[in-house]
Each structure stands twice: as structure tokens, then as C-alpha cells.
Amino acid sequence: MVDLPKIIPQSEIKRRNFLKGAGAMMASIAGCNSKDPFTTEGKKEQVQPSGEMVKLLSTTGEIIEVDKAYLKPTEEIPSITHMAERMGIEGKKFVMVIDLSRCRNLKKCQEACNHAHFVSDHQNWIKVYPIQDAENTSPFWQPTTCMHCDDPPCVKVCPVDATFKRVDGIVGIDADRCIGCRFCMAACPYSTRVFNWDQPIVPPEVLALQYSSETSCPPKIGTVSKCDFCPDMARKGELPHCVTACPNGVFFFGDLNEDTVTNGSETVRFSELIRDRSGYRLMEDLGTKPSVYYLPPVDRLFPFKDEDKHEAKPELHS
């Protein structure tokens, strides 16, 4: 979402069509690259035009239309290097705002996250806690992700730089480097990290992929995993899976430098949202400086139901 204005010079193009086209173009370029660019081999192939046209953006910035049949699918190749992944996206400072007044424990966020990252059972990166601070205070649902702290205790204690802080504020994990000492798990006050005690269950085609700290896939046995703020989505200009999955717009995601956050349907000034709604962060007294902000559960859309509380007992499915 954040990168869109940069990528699209022509405002009249519909975003959806454009993205489809760009992906296809990349695919076609990649397909040609594997051979001599001046080869005539392509001509030998007899392809029947399908009649379905796809819009593409040429290198000169023109919109061209190509028949879908001429586009060749190709394997997904990592577009950025390992080092660039560790570095992060220059000029960005990602933040999240979680509006507690809208959460009713639907756990769509958790579902989408688990699906996208092949999260193992009982090891949810997103948890929706029923929180009641004291006997006479009001209970509410509190979704938690990794806080992507600006002073991350986990990064401080990692002996091998396997968990690191990027320039865009994201705390990432390099599962190819992690030695599995689990010191970061002991250090994290938000209990956000999980450990792959067992061989993670992932489709073979995902298992064959090169590990990327931006997708945290494929998860590797004997290493630590956690919420990664979906930087792969941000690079594509899309929102993290939890944000788009939430039907109530609980999660706002955006860039502090642009002072803008969005939950997909509403886009607001981050500073104004925090100011007007008295935003705060979890365990501020620890000095970890989280990148995740919370809006207090006032003027709630949904009441905290008692049966929710019973439901809150740990269940065996994720």
C-alpha cells in the first residue's frame, strides 16, 4: 500500500490489473533471460492467442497490451538479496496501531497469519488475549504481534546476530543462522517468540525455497520464529495478512515517516490517531520502545461477552 504512488505513474490504471500485469511481465522477462535474448527460439513455439489481453508496463513507461497466451509462467525468484533483507527498506519506519475498541476475538488475523506463514499448531504468532487487569476493571480482547521494539531485548542477547533490527524498524530472524539457544525467547517480555521444536509441516514446494527473513519461510527445525510484520507484503505495496483479514479493521499498519496508517479501508494520520484516541504501548516501563501502539478499549463496537471468557480456554486447534 505504502509504495503504490511510487510504482504507478498513471493514476487511471486500476491497481488490481496493474499488479497482475507487472507480475506477468516480470515472469516473461525472467523467462527470456535464461537464454540468449536474441534467439529466435520463441518463434518456433506455436502459441494460440487466447484472446484475453493483459496490460503491461513497458520499460519506457508505456502501457502495452499483450495476449495472455504469450506470457510464460516462471519460478518465483527472490527479488532481493539476503543482505538487502537484513538491511530493510530504506526510508521507512513501520508501525502498527491496534484498536482494542473494535476487537471481538474473531481470530481472523490469527487464521490468516497462520496460513500465510505455515505457523505450527499451538504456536500462533498472533494471540488474542482476554485481559482483565484487576477484579473490578473491565475485561477486553488484546491481540498481540511481535512488538518490533526499537530497543529490542531479543536482539541484544542474540549471540550470532540471527535476530536483527532493520532500518525500517522491523525485527527479523535469519533461520539459516540461528543456533537455537532460545536466549531471545527468555529475553522477550511479550512472549512473542516460538521455537520449532519439531520439523515444521510445510508443503514440499515451500520447503524447497531458499529461506527468506521477509516471509520467514520455510520455517526450520531448531530455530526461533515470530511475527515478521510481513515486509514481503510491504515491498509489494500490500498490507500484512492480519490487517487485511480483520473484518472489523482492528489493525492499522503504516509508515511513521509518512505519518500515515491504514487498516485497508480507513487511512488516517498516525499522530492524530494516537493523539485523539490516547494511544499507548505495552509495558512502556521496560523501555523496549515497541513499534506497536494500542488504542484503549473505550466506546467499544462489541461488548466483551462472558461466554467469550469461557471460550477463551485454550483450544486444541489453531
Partner: protein
């Protein structure tokens, strides 16, 4: 003439002896325990850490507490050998080698057990390829290797004067003699060599004390550098070091008794030694008790919200029985018993030493596990089995195997080398004789 017979009697008394039936059974049991532990580790490496009962909340378990135990007990080497040497404690001679081999074998297994705890042990080299000095684990790697090196030297240098005696008394051309020659044939026992050795030992004695304090302080920082209730304490370094000296002293008392019985060392390890060591145990137990009071009662007075769950689990909750047993067994009972002269006789002192060591092991368990199970945010959205921790058989097997491993090293060492320094003992006897004349 009488002097000659005397020194040859000491030599025959103290030379390493062949295992009797008891010794063979003992060694056999240790070997079996080690093999079972190895099998447990084989399972863990092939299947994954999932064979343990550690899960995301209790992400550290008995491997870590066992590691802390090993580091703790290894501190005794510096106490008996270095501190006693610098303080010119005369009666230390028969205890120095016992203490030092305990130190070396324990610190060796501390490094092994920490690799056992790793999810990716094959990436051990990453510590050197990508090591970051800001991590307390790197500090631990550095001080533990330093301490291991110094401790080995501290064991080896005083062994040198005994090697000619061992070479002379072993079968010519045997593998064992070749081994003795390999490690010590350069020792001719000249005045110059003794001077160098003496100087080296003096330097090491001074060097090893800060390193010993560092290994256990840094180990305490693995916990104290986190925010967690029960670990977030400025008291932790001193608390760990005092506990370490206590368990080490207890360990030496136990070893003294066992060696005395097994090898009939009554003339060398006397009741006086038990009496003196017992007094030291009392002193150390009092110091450790003092730190425990600081560690538990001061937070309990305030009962901060984050601490409450942890303290309750220890005082009245799931861990209460273990907690109070450990406190009473490893501190209060030894203090009371060893205050009486009768309690300082070899057998009661041995029993108290056992109490101290066993209690100390469980104390380390209580330092790690209850805190892991008292996170800031409540344990939630996981099965009930994730909210508790009791080690699996693989964990027990590996831990028992590592403990058996240290005892095996000590046993094999005793089979190869005199556990009481021969040369030093003879010299001391002569010294006493001269004074009498």
C-alpha cells in the same frame, strides 16, 4: 632411614590403585548411565528438541539448570586451590587435586551440556563466525574457555613432580608409562624447574580468582539481563557466586569421604579436614542463606504484580514443596548439624555434603523453571501441557548421563593419577619433621 621408609610408604599408599569389585561396579554403572544419556541425545539430534518437554513458555529446562549447576560446582577449584594457597591454609594439600579435578570435569560438562541445549548444535561454529560481543552468551563462551584452560593448567602443574614417581612405578614399556612420559618426561625435578612451577602456580592462583568469579557472575547474567520476574535482580551475581562456593565445598566434602573410604586414606584425609571443611560449609551456607533472603523476601514484601505469580508458585504453589525442601536441605539443616563438633565427624559431614549438593541441583531447577512459567502476559492459547514443565525421559537420561560423565572423568583420573599429591605430601611430612628436630 626412617625417612626413606616413610616416603616410600606414602608413595605406595597414594599411588593409583587398581579397581576392586566395588570400583568396577561403580565404573560400570557410570558407563551405562553415560551410554543411556548418549542414546537420549541421539534421539534428540535425530528427532529434534521435540523429544524434550520444553515448549514455548518453558523454553529453557533442566539442561540450563544443569549447566548452571556444573558451572557452580566448578568454582570449588579456585576456592580450595587458589584461595587456600594464597591464604596459606596448611591443611589444603590432600584436597587440592580433588577440588581441581571436580572443577575441570564439571566445567567440561558445562560446555557439553550447553551444546546439548542448542536447537542447531551443528551451527556451533556460528558463535565464532558471527559472534557478537554484546550477547551475554559470548561472555560466557569466553570466560568458560578461559576458566577451563586455567583449571587444566592448575591441575597439570602440581601433577608434574608426581610424574617421575608414576613413571618409575609403572611397568616398563606399558602404554600407561608411555602416557606418563608423554605428558611429563621433561620434568627432572631440578631446583630451577621447581622455581618456575612455583611462580607459575602463584600467577595462576591470582588469575583464576577473578575468572572464577566471572564465570558464575556471567552465568547469572544470562538470567539477570532479562526482564523476567525472579531473574530481574541486581543481586544475582553475588547470589550465584555464593551458592557456587557452597555447592563446591559440599562436593569436596562428599568426595573426601568417598576417597577416604575407597582408598583407606584415613592417615591423609583426617577428621581435622572434615572438621575444617564443615566449618567452611557452615560459613558459605550462611552467606548463601543471606542472599536467598534478599532474593525472595524483599520482592515478596512488595509483591509487585509481575513478581506475584512467580513468588506464589514458589512459596505456596506448584513448586512449594521442592522450594522449601531445597532451602531446608541445602542450607538450614547443614548449618545446624555442622555447628556441632559431632556433626563435623566424617560421616555426618558427608551426609550434609550430599544434602548441599543435591539441594543445590534442585535449587538451580527452581531458578530456571518457575520463572519461565511466570511470563508477563498470561500463558494463553496453548494446550495445558505447554503451561507446565516436567522433563521427558530423554532430558533426564541426558542430564543423568552428564552427571555420570563428570564422575567418570574423576574416576578415570583417580585410576591414572594419585588423587592426593604424593610429592607434596612427602615434602610436607619432611617439613614437619624438620620443624620437630
Amino acid at each position: 632411614m626412617s625417612q626413606l621408609t616413610n616416603s616410600s610408604k606414602i608413595t605406595t599408599d597414594l599411588l593409583p590403585q587398581k579397581f576392586g569389585t566395588g570400583g568396577r561396579i561403580w565404573t560400570g554403572i557410570l558407563v551405562v548411565l553415560c551410554l543411556v544419556g548418549l542414546y537420549g541425545y541421539y534421539r534428540q539430534v535425530t528427532v529434534g528438541l521435540v523429544v524434550t518437554n520444553m515448549r514455548d513458555y518453558a523454553s529453557w529446562g533442566i539442561y540450563i539448570s544443569n549447566f548452571v549447576f556444573f558451572v557452580a560446582i566448578s568454582l570449588v577449584g579456585s576456592l580450595i586451590t587458589a584461595i587456600f594457597r594464597l591464604a596459606s591454609v596448611e591443611w589444603r594439600t590432600p584436597l587440592t587435586r580433588i577440588a581441581e579435578i571436580i572443577a575441570v570435569s564439571a566445567i567440561l560438562f558445562a560446555s557439553i551440556i550447553i551444546i546439548v541445549d542448542m536447537g542447531r548444535p551443528e551451527r556451533f561454529t556460528h558463535l565464532f563466525l558471527y559472534g557478537r560481543l554484546q550477547s551475554p552468551i559470548m561472555w560466557d563462551v569466553i570466560v568458560i574457555t578461559t576458566y577451563l584452560t586455567i583449571s587444566v593448567l592448575f591441575l597439570y602443574f602440581p601433577l608434574l613432580p608426581d610424574l617421575p614417581i608414576l613413571i618409575k612405578n609403572s611397568k616398563d614399556g606399558s602404554v600407561r608409562q608411555k602416557f606418563y612420559k608423554f605428558i611429563g618426561s621433561f620434568w627432572k625435578g631440578t631446583a630451577a624447574q621447581f622455581r618456575i612451577s612455583e611462580n607459575a602456580l602463584r600467577i595462576i592462583s591470582v588469575m583464576i580468582i577473578p575468572v572464577a568469579l566471572a564465570i558464575h557472575t556471567v552465568t547469572s547474567w544470562l538470567f539477570a539481563t532479562t526482564y523476567r520476574p525472579g531473574w530481574d535482580s541486581t543481586n544475582f551475581g553475588a547470589y550465584f557466586v555464593s551458592g557456587a562456593f557452597l555447592v563446591g565445598a559440599g562436593g569436596v566434602v562428599v568426595a573426601m569421604y568417598v576417597f577416604r573410604k575407597a582408598y583407606k586414606f584415613e592417615a591423609y584425609i583426617t577428621e581435622k579436614h572434615f572438621d575444617n571443611m564443615s566449618k567452611i560449609v557452615v560459613l558459605l551456607a550462611l552467606v548463601y542463606l543471606y542472599f536467598n533472603i534478599n532474593e525472595y523476601l524483599v520482592p515478596a514484601f512488595k509483591m509487585k504484580k509481575a513478581e506475584e505469580h512467580h513468588l506464589r508458585s514458589l512459596f505456596v504453589g506448584d513448586f512449594a514443596r521442592l522450594f522449601w525442601t531445597a532451602i531446608v536441605m541445602s542450607m538450614i539443616v547443614p548449618i545446624v548439624v555442622l555447628l556441632f563438633p559431632k556433626g563435623r565427624k566424617p560421616f555426618p559431614a558427608f551426609v550434609m555434603g550430599l544434602f548441599v549438593v543435591v539441594g543445590a541441583w534442585f535449587k538451580r531447577y527452581l531458578i530456571v523453571t518457575p520463572t519461565m512459567l511466570s511470563p508477563f502476559l498470561p500463558m494463553y492459547d496453548v494446550p495445558d501441557s505447554y503451561k507446565q514443565y516436567f522433563p521427558s525421559w530423554e532430558e533426564w537420561a541426558i542430564t543423568t548421563g552428564s552427571l555420570a560423565g563428570t564422575l567418570l572423568i574423576i574416576t578415570i583420573f583417580t585410576r591414572l593419577f594419585p588423587i592426593i599429591p604424593i610429592h607434596e605430601t612427602i615434602e610436607e611430612m619432611e617439613h614437619i619433621k624438620h620443624e620437630k628436630v
